[in-house]
């Protein structure tokens, strides 16, 4: 690979910046040096990755005066090494996001000991939970990429996932419509991309047909103005954390174990072969290590001796609106205006999400898209919220917002997924840079990783054996909000806990919370209960139900109230009892 060509082009493109380039035999280019701003740092990485001969970019660039926080794994590693080997497994999966959970469930088909190691207290605590739940039809992805292939396959596979795992999937369809004839060109461009990628059922429809497909267009008065639309019937909507929970539960039912609150601090290798991982709670030896560490995947890969990509976090802020503000459209419906087209042309990576609805019929705005330097910075700010809200034009107002939050997309510079058995460390599988459409692609990602492992196992003389009693079905817990009054009545007669409503806003009962707490992957915090049941997700944001959820969690886990956390770690809600002087006296005496 001719580095000098890149260097020459670089000088032209970024005059004044000094960066040194080096490439390995896989055409992975490493950047070193100091550059002016974080924006430039990201832009240089992206520009380099776009050179046709470059496979991916590892960026070691810094910005003088800008702190780029690095996680210090040393104390975790020391703690783990002190404990020695505590577990032996066939497969260790690092990270319990949508990719990790999907792969765990896929591998649970085989007679393998599979452990999922997660640094937080629950599944789906990273990018997965801060996702807008769109199962993209695959029209927007660059043709020819791994993303495009897995997006299309994954979208199709969701129907089976939803059936087997019992989560809500709504094939709402997606529509981009134009109200000016010249903009039909933009539709044609998108259509040809959709066709190239193989998006199911994509077609350009007339204004009349568009209004039939989406009655919301007429309800909001725009119907008669619609000239034409691109219709993508395969668009789906899910609650992303529900999918992850369903996968994890089914995986556990089939023998997988999840180890929460465990940070992987090192990957053990020996002569080009992976040997296991060092966690803060002991060493786990394993034949395969699958890296689904999301925003930290590049660091884990480096631990395995395979530094082949760099994650630069791209923050997205999402706003959830009160259900009283009814979504205008059933499908994901976007007005393709000249401004939107310009925004698309300007943002080569992503312009973020617009307005959509959740399967529970909340309007969801965003996510925004902002490059940041700190992976752990999940703070919201006025600019990002304004961007997310601004995508709704005058149709939404801040007064409708009940909650906003941020998540960081694990973007690499190649803007494609990195899924492969490491050519450096055998047995170590990268599932990295899984940003959008990572949720839509998840079933295909899981299948691809299963194939990698199965193929390798066969080649290395220890082929995988399928379990005879593998059960693909997960029976979902009752969701009373979806039931008729008669069905509810019968259920309450069976189990009176379903007759006590805990969360007023979303109508969630004690029975539903108890079912979650007693499920195969029990939630350990108030937010974890929220993700499983929706208790606290409504307009009062837990103002009324949080004490009740806390009480149930404490009771079921046998904990004191002060031990219950909002979201794991040190996020305890209550610090001490205020009626315990006598008790405290007894203890101290």
């Amino acid at each position: 690979m001719d580095i000098s060509k890149i260097e020459k082009a670089f000088k032209k493109k970024f005059p004044g910046e000094k960066v040194s380039f080096s490439a390995d035999k896989r055409s992975i280019v490493t950047l070193r040096g100091e550059v002016g701003t974080w924006e430039n740092l990201v832009a240089i990485g992206q520009w380099t990755a776009k050179r046709p001969e470059v496979k991916n970019v590892v960026s070691k660039l810094t910005v003088p005066g800008l702190c780029i926080p690095k996680k210090d794994y040393a104390p975790f590693k020391a703690a783990g090494e002190a404990l020695g080997v505590t577990e032996r497994a066939d497969v260790v999966i690092i990270g319990a996001g949508i990719s990790g959970c999907g792969i765990a469930r896929e591998l649970s088909k085989y007679s393998l000991k599979v452990l999922v190691v997660e640094k937080d207290d629950d599944v789906a605590t990273g990018a997965t939970k801060a996702n807008n739940g769109n199962i993209h039809p695959g029209h927007a992805v660059t043709p020819g990429t791994l993303k495009a292939k897995l997006n299309i396959e994954g979208n199709r596979m969701y129907t089976q996932w939803a059936e087997e795992l019992g989560f809500e999937l709504q094939r709402s369809g997606a529509m981009g419509y134009v109200t000016r004839w010249p903009l039909k060109l933009a539709l044609k461009y998108s259509y040809s991309k959709a066709k190239k990628n193989g998006a199911d059922g994509a077609e350009i429809v007339s204004g009349k047909r568009a209004r039939e497909l989406e009655p919301g267009l007429d309800r909001c008065g725009i119907g008669p103005k619609v000239k034409a639309a691109l219709w993508l019937p395969s668009m789906g909507l899910v609650e992303p954390y529900q999918v992850a929970v369903a996968l994890a539960e089914n995986a556990v039912e089939n023998g997988v174990r999840f180890l929460f609150n465990r940070t992987v601090a090192d990957v053990l290798t020996e002569g080009g072969q992976v040997k296991g991982v060092v966690t803060d709670k002991g060493i786990i030896e394993a034949r395969y290590v699958i890296n689904c560490a999301g925003i930290y995947a590049d660091e884990i890969s480096a631990m395995a001796g395979d530094e082949c990509y760099t994650i630069h976090p791209r923050k997205g802020v999402i706003a959830i609106l009160d259900k009283a503000k009814r979504p205008l459209f059933n499908c994901l419906c976007e007005h393709i205006t000249l401004d939107e087209v310009k925004l698309n042309l300007k943002n080569t990576t992503t312009k973020g999400g617009g307005m959509c609805r959740t399967p529970e019929w909340n309007i969801l705005m965003g996510p925004s898209a902002a490059e940041i330097s700190d992976k752990e910075d999940l703070s919201t700010n006025p600019q990002d919220l304004a961007y997310a809200m601004g995508r709704g034009g005058d149709k939404v107002s801040y007064g409708d917002v009940i909650r906003y939050f941020a998540g960081n997309r694990p973007a690499d510079y190649s803007e494609d997924f990195v899924i492969e058995m490491s050519p450096v460390t055998h047995g170590f599988v990268n599932v990295g840079a899984i940003q959008s459409p990572g949720l839509a692609s998840a079933p295909a990602v899981a299948r691809m990783v299963e194939n990698i492992i199965r193929q390798d196992a066969k080649e290395t003389g220890a082929p995988l054996e399928k379990k005879e009693n593998w059960n693909p079905k997960r029976i979902p817990p009752p969701e009373l909000r979806r039931m008729s009054w008669q069905e509810r009545d019968e259920l309450i007669k069976e189990n009176p806990a379903y007759g006590r409503v805990i969360c007023r806003c979303e109508g969630i009962t004690e029975g539903e919370i108890l079912a979650a707490v007693r499920s195969p992957v029990p939630p350990a915090s108030i937010d974890a209960v929220k993700r499983r049941t929706r208790a606290g997700m409504g307009r009062c944001q837990g103002g009324f139900c949080q004490p009740r959820v806390l009480e149930l969690l404490a009771r079921e886990q046998g904990d004191d109230w002060t031990e219950v956390t909002l979201k794991g770690g040190n996020s305890n809600v209550l610090l001490k009892e205020n009626r315990c002087e006598e008790k405290a006296g007894e203890v101290s005496e």
Binding site: R504, G507, G543, N570
Partner: protein, 419 residues
């Protein structure tokens, strides 16, 4: 599914609902049923262990619990049926109520009249646009009050309070008494949101500073709250750059306003007034849907519980009359308009045949003296001098001189616009 027929069903057993149920029975209504989602009657008063309740009604200062107990005792004395732990899930315009509880399962209740008394809820951090992290230790004042007063736990060591409404002030004192350091109370408006007596008794007496025209803009901390950023605001309530200050604390208490809980009202198709965020009411406190009445904080957020109970009684009278009269078609209405310094008046309209009514209103600005007028056409029905009026304090008046036609309720500065 169990079917129940009732005369008057009251949804909510707080101070409005209990007063309504008691009045309905006293007026001779036979089947009165109260549905309460909590384990006990009393509503939010259960956690209000501070005093100052019942001055108007009982002529003495009671705690919230005592006030609620007085009504609960009367409820029991009159043998009014109360279903606790019972959640209403849907209300139809035809006054069918779907509710559930543990012991009876689903209930389908047909009511001749319904009185809504669900109270209100608190605004949250997202609703007042606080940015930053989302750690544990950001709680509404009501939640803090519940944890401390009912559950017996402290949610922090050092607190910042945003909002100087009454609940914020009460909690400033309460937390101080429990050993939580209250760094200060911050108020985005240029005037305090709570009653003067609470500023004096809850902040001044304890040396807690009140920072006006200042708000919390950001929360810091990934597990628990570690600090908040406060900033002064301009006349448009936008933070002024350069005035930010970081305050270390582990608890942010939000007392940033109350919102009537009208989700059930919406299922019944009841029209909501965007200013009060409660139903549009007539002089009997009937909503736009015949036979469905509203009382207490679900109708409009009151400042004193005495008024809450009074509104319950007005609604009960209306409901009893509705049943007796069997009104089937919608009444003809005349509007009640807010003018001058009056920000809103409840009820928002009166029936054409209405001759006497009680009104509740709030003003836009604080004034030492001002004149309240209720005018019908050219005729002044009521003229009343008011002293020390302020937006947080609700005003009320009654008149029996109504002769039909629109009413205008105004508040003018003394000496101005005098005819």
């Amino acid at each position: 599914m169990k079917h129940i027929d009732s005369d008057i069903v009251v949804i909510g057993a707080g101070p409005a609902g209990m007063a309504a149920a008691i009045k309905a029975r006293e007026l001779g209504t036979e089947k009165v049923l109260v549905l309460e989602r909590d384990t006990e009657a009393g509503g939010i008063l259960q956690q209000c262990i501070h005093d100052g309740f019942g001055i108007h009604r009982f002529g003495r200062r009671m705690s919230g619990n005592q006030y609620a107990q007085a009504f609960a005792d009367r409820l029991a004395e009159l043998q009014i049926e109360l279903k606790t732990d019972t959640m209403v899930l849907e209300l139809t315009p035809q006054r069918t109520i779907y509710a559930c509880n543990k012991t009876e399962g689903m209930l389908e209740i047909h009511a001749k009249a319904v009185i809504l008394a669900m109270g209100c809820r608190e605004r949250t951090a997202s609703q007042v646009l606080i940015y930053g992290d989302r750690p544990a230790g950001v709680l509404t004042a009501g939640a803090v009050q519940r944890y401390i007063n009912m559950e017996g736990y402290l949610p922090g060591k050092k607190a910042v309070i945003l909002g100087s409404g009454d609940i914020g002030l009460i909690m400033a004192r309460r937390m101080t008494l429990e050993g939580i350091e209250v760094e200060g109370v911050y108020e985005v408006m240029e005037n305090p949101g709570g009653l003067t007596r609470n500023i004096v008794q809850c902040l001044d007496d304890y040396g807690i500073p009140l920072h006006l025209s200042t708000t919390v803009t950001e929360v810091h901390g990934r597990g628990r709250v570690e600090a908040v950023t406060v900033a002064q605001v301009d006349e448009n309530r936008k933070p002024i750059p350069g005035t930010q200050r970081r305050i270390d604390c582990d608890l942010l208490v939000l007392a940033v306003g109350l919102i009537p809980e009208n989700e059930l009202s919406r299922t019944a198709g009841i029209e909501i007034d965007p200013r009060t965020r409660g139903p549009v009411l007539d002089n009997a406190f009937m909503t736009g849907v015949p036979g469905i009445f509203a009382a207490g904080n679900v109708a409009v957020v009151f400042d004193l519980v005495d008024y809450v109970s009074e509104s319950g009684e007005i609604a009960a009278r209306g409901a009893a009359e509705f049943i007796a009269g069997g009104q089937t078609s919608a009444a003809e209405y005349c509007p009640v308009l807010a003018d001058g310094e009056v920000s809103f008046v409840v009820p928002q309209r009166i029936r054409k045949d209405c001759r006497e009514a009680t009104f509740f209103l709030r003003v836009k600005n604080a004034r030492k003296t001002a004149t309240l007028r209720c005018i019908a056409g050219d005729e002044t029905l009521l003229k009343k001098k008011c002293m020390h009026i302020a937006p947080p304090e609700m005003l009320t008046f009654s008149t029996d001189k109504i002769k039909g036609g629109a009413l205008t309720v105004s508040m003018e500065k003394e000496g101005e616009a005098d005819d």
